[in-house]
């Protein structure tokens, strides 16, 4: 049944969570306020240590916030975690597949745990096996599946009882690009056709562009919140591909030191450059050693926006100067002693 409730699926207001171990105090989440819309894929995007897993656990009612309020499907999680848990599916980073049980036995086990009535199982299994492409492998031991297939089985087990909200904690980490593409096809199918709301965490910045909406988190703080297109629109006219006969590593080091350049990374034989402002840099004379430098505009990407935000936070400090040259004296000369 389509979910027509106009209220957001998840509402976070001033969410804060601190962990203490002995004298150490780590602020995992430092006042997060954001929303995730129904029927959409919302990405929790950020590097390791950003607070993504903590936020997932808070939303799932497995942890309590120290401050702030979390509403999931209109329910206050702190007051009624069980009602929330009855309506969500949560796939943690290390999903508990039973490696010495077959694909079919894992599905049965999770159907038992989630209280799915036996008469509803055949149709649901057929749907999930078709969706994940695991149909031909129902008799195979889970421990003998590839990494990508294990992730798909974990997802199928999470979905045996159809949830209103699906929490996926870094499902694509370490899987090959083919399996990653298949996982995204499944997620698209779930949101487009089955009206499931998905909250998806990832440290791969390119995956932000596949989400309907993104929360960019870094070190417990929300650095940005919006459609991925809003992040890239901020960066319009600021990214270029640089080519020159100077070696690409030297070209990168020189470009990184040019004032007004906030980012320079090697991309194949060229160097991708991002500028602080949408003023096209003049290639001629930009790098003294590269008189043949050519700059070609290239579309912005989500990572550009993250880098720009980090640079802005750090006071637009120019990138660190190249490593000081160490005394060169022939073979093995990089040695500093």
């Amino acid at each position: 049944m389509p979910d027509t409730d106009p209220k957001p699926a998840v509402r976070l207001a001033g969410v804060r969570r601190v962990f203490r171990a002995g004298k150490r105090v780590v602020t995992a989440l430092d006042g997060i306020t954001a929303e995730a819309a129904r029927g959409a894929v919302t990405g929790l995007v950020g590097p390791d240590g950003a607070g993504k897993t903590t936020l997932m656990r808070l939303i799932a009612g497995l942890l309590r916030a120290d401050a702030g309020r979390i509403e999931v499907l209109g329910i206050d999680v702190a007051r009624d975690p069980l009602s929330v848990q009855a309506r969500i599916g949560y796939m943690p980073q290390r999903f508990g597949l039973y490696e010495d049980l077959s694909v079919a036995e894992n599905l049965d086990l999770y159907a038992d745990l989630q209280g799915v009535p036996p008469d509803r199982r055949p149709a649901r299994y057929a749907e999930l096996l078709h969706m994940t492409g695991l149909g031909p492998f129902t008799g195979r031991m889970a421990g003998r599946l590839s990494g990508g297939m294990k992730q798909k089985l974990g997802l199928a087990c999470t979905l045996v009882h159809p949830p209103d909200l699906l929490l996926l904690d870094e499902p694509t980490v370490g899987v090959d690009p083919v399996s990653r593409r298949e996982l995204w096809q499944i997620i698209d199918h779930l949101t487009r056709d089955a009206q499931v709301t998905v909250l998806f965490s990832t440290a791969y910045l390119d995956e932000a562009e596949r989400c309907d909406s993104v929360l960019l988190i870094h070190e417990g703080q929300l650095l940005g919140h919006g459609k991925p297109g809003q992040f890239t629109a901020e960066m319009a006219g600021r990214s270029f591909l640089a080519a020159a006969s100077l070696g690409r590593r030297r070209l990168q080091a020189r470009l990184a030191a040019v004032p007004g350049v906030i980012d320079a990374v090697i991309q194949g034989s060229r160097v991708r450059v991002v500028t602080a402002e949408a003023v096209p840099p003049v290639a001629a004379g930009l790098v003294a050693e590269a008189p043949d430098l050519v700059l070609t505009p290239t579309p912005p990407r989500f990572e550009d926006s993250f880098v720009a935000r980090l640079r802005a936070r750090d006071g637009l400090a120019p990138p660190a100067p190249p490593t000081p040259p160490l005394p060169l004296a022939g073979e093995g000369a990089w040695r500093a002693t």
């Binding site: 990494g147 690009p177 083919v178 390119d206 080091a253 034989s269 490593t323």
Partner: protein
């Protein structure tokens, strides 16, 4: 080739009936940054452990820094710096204690050890954190400390296992700035990654799946190999997918 620092030929490793690495061959020249690209389970880490002399191959030959790893693993290891996935630091030890421990493990003593610890603290800006416990360091600092530990004995070859998985983009750039500087100075770098962006930084790379090498070459050439009318400017990820699908096609047809 005479300039090759790493030469791997027909390398195979079995665990019972399972073939983790299947007839892999490649060479890496001095000062080159060479990538092993593949998903978890593709055989990258097993290849790596054999190159480090930590695991004997079932068959094939391995030469690292001029030493045959079957006969002289210890000699070869003295020329190798290794940075493990997730940085394998001693969490309960301080920054300074980790540097001293790793330099001792690489057999540095006395004045040379003190000089290298001082070098690491300066070069990697670890001085202000020298008494902090490694476990409490921010991820970017941990990564710098792990690289410093791998470089204490001034190795000719640096092995990096998933070096920047999950770190923020600025820390990743900072890390690669150092790696590029090392390569420019003649250090040979071998890096495993499942991170497509990182593959772009390599001079050459191999794409691995199910223990075998499916494609090898410069990043630009590998990307160009996936060019089609509908995909005129493929990314490394597009190329990876094309390579895997091409490898699976004959198997499915059979």
């Amino acid at each position: 080739m005479a300039g090759d620092v790493i030469a791997v030929a027909h390398l195979t490793r079995r665990f019972g009936a399972f073939v983790a690495v299947d007839d892999v061959s490649f060479t890496v020249a001095r000062g080159e940054i060479f990538g092993l690209l593949g998903a978890n389970g593709a055989g990258k880490s097993t290849t790596f452990r054999m190159l480090c002399g930590l695991l004997p191959p079932t068959s094939g030959t391995l030469r690292v820094a001029g030493f045959d790893l079957r006969g002289a693993a210890a000699s070869a290891r003295g020329r190798i710096g290794y940075m493990a996935q997730k940085f394998s630091l001693y969490g309960d030890l301080s920054v300074a204690q980790n540097l001293r421990f790793f330099s001792s493990a690489y057999r540095l003593t006395g004045a040379r050890q003190r000089a290298r610890v001082a070098w690491a603290e300066t070069e990697f800006e670890l001085g202000p954190m020298r008494d902090a416990t490694a476990r409490d360091l921010p991820l970017g600092f941990k990564q710098r400390l792990a690289l410093a530990c791998a470089l204490m004995h001034e190795p000719d070859i640096l092995f990096l296992d998933e070096p920047t998985s999950g770190v923020d983009p600025l820390a990743r750039r900072e890390f690669w700035r150092r790696i590029n500087a090392l390569a420019e100075q003649g250090v040979t770098v071998l890096v495993t990654t499942h991170f497509m962006e990182e593959a772009e930084y390599c001079d050459r790379l191999v794409i691995m799946a199910q223990g075998a090498v499916l494609a090898a070459g410069e990043p630009e050439a590998i990307k160009q190999g996936a060019r089609t009318a509908t995909q005129p400017d493929p990314t490394m990820e597009d190329a990876f997918i094309a390579v895997i699908e091409a490898a699976q096609a004959p198997a499915q047809a059979a």
